[in-house]
């Protein structure tokens, strides 16, 4: 029969009914739903052997002992090295995202030369030839070649400073930190040797004057572990922590007591303690101590209250606690880890000496014999030098090397400093990332990411024993970068400067041998700890101290910049995964928030969320007000690490750079540039 409409329909219906007895509808529905769960733009995971390679991560200032976690040889994460007796497996919030930073969009892809406004890629050979050419004509002239280093613990500095010395230049500077302020005091003014150490592991009372040991001072992970070890949940605490500073910061949050001290009066507070200890019969075997004790007598509790805002009873309580403790340790510094003066540092040393806690770590032997001594370099004043260059009192360098530092962003009065840095004839940055200094440099020669390079750390400041750690390359470089010390060794060869080594690995091998450590053990993640102690011989300069202390006013609105490690450091902008850790009370959208208590806000006519302009040192920043009772009256607290103008879209343009308004002054009596607790004016916008 022919096919008519009804037959056709029945055919189709039969077909449809038959389909139900086949896999077609069920499989298609199932597969369609699976298709909708596996979009092609969602990344697929890679699988393979899971390994963890030990190294020392120098992404944070002091460094963390880590293991880089890999799957099928690709780095994806970081875990702590639990075998490390100092960090005990803990990791700071920056090193925890170290594997992600290997592929940061702000990484410099290869050596680059500035051509007009843009960067043009060049080869490493071209870069070496360019620099060799430029430096040939400057050999033997001091001040023409200079270098700024932000890595305060690496032996790479010996190569770099030895190279400069070979060119006849003494202009090698470290970025200012609590360590440089202490070096100026201990090694410079007091004539001591070695590095001040803090034996937190044995302490039963830790008094922090300014130093934010849990967030910004020294090896924060080790500080936190040492603290936690003595405050077990399941037992009695064997450590009391007292924080003396203007803000209830993260150290104060876990401390047993917060003593509110104006940041500009911290040295007076310390002298007040010296005075009370002297009155209780304590003394220190430091030269010139009796003159110093006489000076301290001027800092009775009432005088201290005027200069630092500390309640006289609180001062007496702290002194009492110090006298009763068996192993008290006093840690001094600035809340932001920079800008403290000699007065505070020397007073801190004296307090420790009076309580039998003065701890000096000996310097490890040098590997590069022609390199200047580390202590001498640490005591130099970078900010003071740049101010002199700015004022025309010192010549601008023809070539300025910047290693592991971001001075254009993180120096105080950053806007001015950036201009001064730009006065250098040729600015060379070795930064791994496109930071503010690299962005304005003439030549960017990227160093590898800390996981990709050989590096080391000798006694990061804040430890209690001379310690040496080695970092080996556990990841193949993702970009065309070269280890800075290797580049410098190559360059030195071209300029006839003999540093005694051809490659940086040889330098470190010599260093390890000189120290008497085992290279293989260090490369496997072990750390070398020495029980040797340095000499505690030094002498106090009461005259200089008196002048420095006379400069304390103790009144007016002062600014305290807070360094939070999770937000980043000067040389490492907020990693993308750290952005959610920034609170809305610190940053919201493009607005940075400054904190002040209700009393301060009332006196300035401000309310929560008010838009304000903060001005100091010839610059200003815009911010909004966040009311917090954790800031003492007369003080404004502002977070560092924001207001980036380079890097990548994740971090750029958020908030403002508080370093711009850290006003610098010269400490009377010592001449050291200081800015902790600098004055600031706040005006409603």
């Amino acid at each position: 029969m022919g096919l008519d409409r009804r037959a056709f329909i029945k055919f189709v219906v039969g077909g449809a009914a038959g389909t139900l007895f086949t896999p077609i509808p069920w499989k298609l529905a199932d597969d369609a739903s699976i298709w909708s769960q596996n979009w092609s733009w969602i990344p697929r995971l890679k699988y393979g052997a899971l390994t963890a390679d030990a190294t020392y991560s120098k992404l944070c200032p002091a460094g963390c002992a880590v293991k880089v976690k890999k799957v099928a040889g690709i780095a994806y994460g970081v875990e702590g090295n639990s075998a490390n007796e100092l960090s005990k497996g803990g990791v700071c919030p920056l090193c925890a995202t170290g594997s992600q930073m290997l592929r940061s969009p702000s990484r410099v892809a290869g050596p680059m030369k500035k051509d007009g406004d843009k960067f043009k890629p060049i080869s490493w050979d071209e870069a070496e030839a360019l620099l060799a050419d430029k430096l040939k004509g400057l050999k033997g002239q001091d001040g023409k070649v200079a270098a700024i280093s932000g890595d305060l613990s690496g032996t790479a500095n010996e190569v770099l400073s030895g190279f400069l010395a070979g060119l006849g230049s003494k202009s090698y500077y470290y970025m200012p930190t609590d360590q440089t302020a202490m070096a100026k005091a201990w090694n410079g003014v007091m004539g001591g040797s070695g590095q001040i150490g803090y034996d937190l592991e044995e302490a039963d009372l830790i008094l922090c004057i300014g130093a934010d040991i849990m967030d910004a001072f020294g090896p924060v992970v080790r500080n936190q572990k040492a603290f936690a070890a003595k405050r077990p949940m399941e037992g009695d605490k064997t450590l009391t922590l007292v924080y003396a500073g203007p803000v209830r910061n993260r150290t104060a949050a876990v401390a047993d007591k917060w003593v509110a001290v104006r940041p500009d009066g911290a040295a007076a507070f310390a002298m007040g303690l010296v005075n009370l200890l002297v009155r209780s019969g304590k003394s220190a075997s430091l030269g010139g101590f009796s003159d110093f004790a006489d000076l301290a007598a001027k800092f009775g509790p009432e005088a201290v209250a005027k200069l630092s805002g500390v309640n006289p009873e609180a001062l007496k309580d702290v002194a009492k606690a110090l006298l009763v403790a068996k192993n008290p340790v006093i840690v001094v510094g600035s809340e932001s880890g920079q800008g403290a003066g000699v007065a505070l540092s020397a007073a801190g040393v004296t307090l420790n000496a009076m309580l039998g806690s003065l701890n000096v770590l000996p310097e490890f032997p040098k590997a590069v014999a022609s390199a200047p001594d580390r202590a001498g370099l640490l005591a130099k004043d970078l900010v003071g030098w740049l101010a002199a260059v700015d004022a025309g009192k010192a010549p601008a360098p023809e070539v300025l090397f910047v290693y592991e530092a971001n001075p254009a962003y993180s120096l105080p009065q950053a806007g001015n400093m950036a201009k001064t840095l730009r006065k250098a004839g040729m600015l060379v940055s070795f930064s791994t990332f496109m930071d503010e200094t690299a962005a304005m440099a003439d030549l960017v020669l990227p160093a590898p990411h800390p996981f990709e390079r050989l590096d080391d750390a000798q006694s990061p400041y804040g430890l209690g024993k001379a310690t040496y750690a080695l970092a080996t390359a556990v990841v193949a470089p993702e970009k065309d970068c070269k280890g800075t010390p290797d580049f410098i060794l190559g360059l030195s060869g071209k300029l006839g400067v003999d540093l005694g080594f051809g490659a940086f690995e040889d330098v470190l091998k010599a260093k390890v041998e000189a120290i008497g450590a085992d290279w293989d053990a260090l490369a496997g993640g072990a750390v070398h700890v020495s029980d040797k102690k340095g000499s505690t011989q030094a002498s106090l300069d009461a005259g200089a101290m008196s002048k420095a202390l006379a400069g304390i006013k103790g009144e007016g609105l002062v600014l305290i910049a807070q360094a939070h490690l999770n937000i980043g450091t000067g040389k490492l902008a907020t990693p993308p995964l750290n952005l959610p850790t920034i609170r809305e009370t610190e940053l919201y959208g493009k607005d940075v928030f400054v904190q002040m208590c209700a009393a301060t806000a009332k006196s300035l006519g401000l309310s929560e969320g008010a838009k304000v302009k903060l001005a100091a040192g010839g610059a200003d920043i815009s911010a909004r007000v966040n009311l917090s009772e954790g800031v003492m009256p007369g003080v404004v607290a502002a977070p560092l690490g924001l207001g980036r103008t380079a890097w990548d879209p994740y971090t750029k343009g958020k908030g403002d750079n508080v370093c711009k308004i850290l006003a610098v002054s010269a400490e009377p009596g010592t001449g050291l540039s200081v800015w902790a607790g600098s004055a600031v004016s706040v005006a409603k916008m």
Binding site: K10, F11, A17, G18, K27, D31
Partner: protein, 183 residues
């Protein structure tokens, strides 16, 4: 007139049956061919040569690591133990050495038992079972079997679905909780 009607009904019923049968055949015979694309492995790997001629055992290449994870498909690290250079006569081996070993590239083997990322499978927990309970028996095969890829979902034809895992778990008294198999 009535004859015509009867014939029409008869013709209609036939049409229904014809449609029914045709779609059943299409669904069971034609459809799988359309749904799956037939692919080859990037290298024609012969298990027979390795197990019979060379005397390797299964766990020479497929073994449990120290941490209990399973090395399923070997990587270049295992293969170059012998094949860092051409040691045989087959064109497949030559291709492997040329295009993968010398270029330091891993072979993108197609996984017959492919599971998506949200599935968590532990070989260690299934160690007591015979491999062939779930995997194709290739131990003596001279050629790698064809890989059938589902054009719509992207999975392999042998990809086990959830009900297969659930059934065996239920039969063996093992938990069928979500997190046992998902991540």
């Amino acid at each position: 007139m009535e004859e015509k009607k009867t014939t029409k009904c008869g013709g209609g019923f036939l049409a229904f049956v014809l449609g029914f049968l045709l779609s059943v055949v299409a669904g069971w015979v034609v459809f799988p061919g359309l749904l799956y694309s037939e692919l080859d492995q990037p290298i024609q790997f012969s298990h027979k040569i390795h197990t019979e001629d060379q005397g390797l055992t299964c766990d020479s290449c497929h073994f449990f690591r120290e941490d209990g994870s399973y090395q399923g498909m070997p990587t270049n690290e295992q293969c170059t133990g012998c094949h860092s250079d051409v040691i045989g006569q087959t064109p497949a081996e030559a291709k492997y050495v040329q295009e993968y070993v010398q270029k330091n590239k891993e072979v993108p083997w197609r996984n017959y038992q492919y599971q998506p990322d949200n599935v968590l499978f532990s070989h260690k927990a299934h160690e007591p079972f015979e491999c062939t309970e779930c995997h194709l028996d290739v131990a003596k095969a001279d050629k790698a079997p064809k890989y059938y890829e589902n054009k719509l979902s992207g999975y392999s034809k042998q990809t086990m679905k959830m009900w297969q895992c659930e059934r065996c778990h239920a039969e063996n008294g093992v938990s069928n909780a979500c997190h046992v198999c998902h991540k």
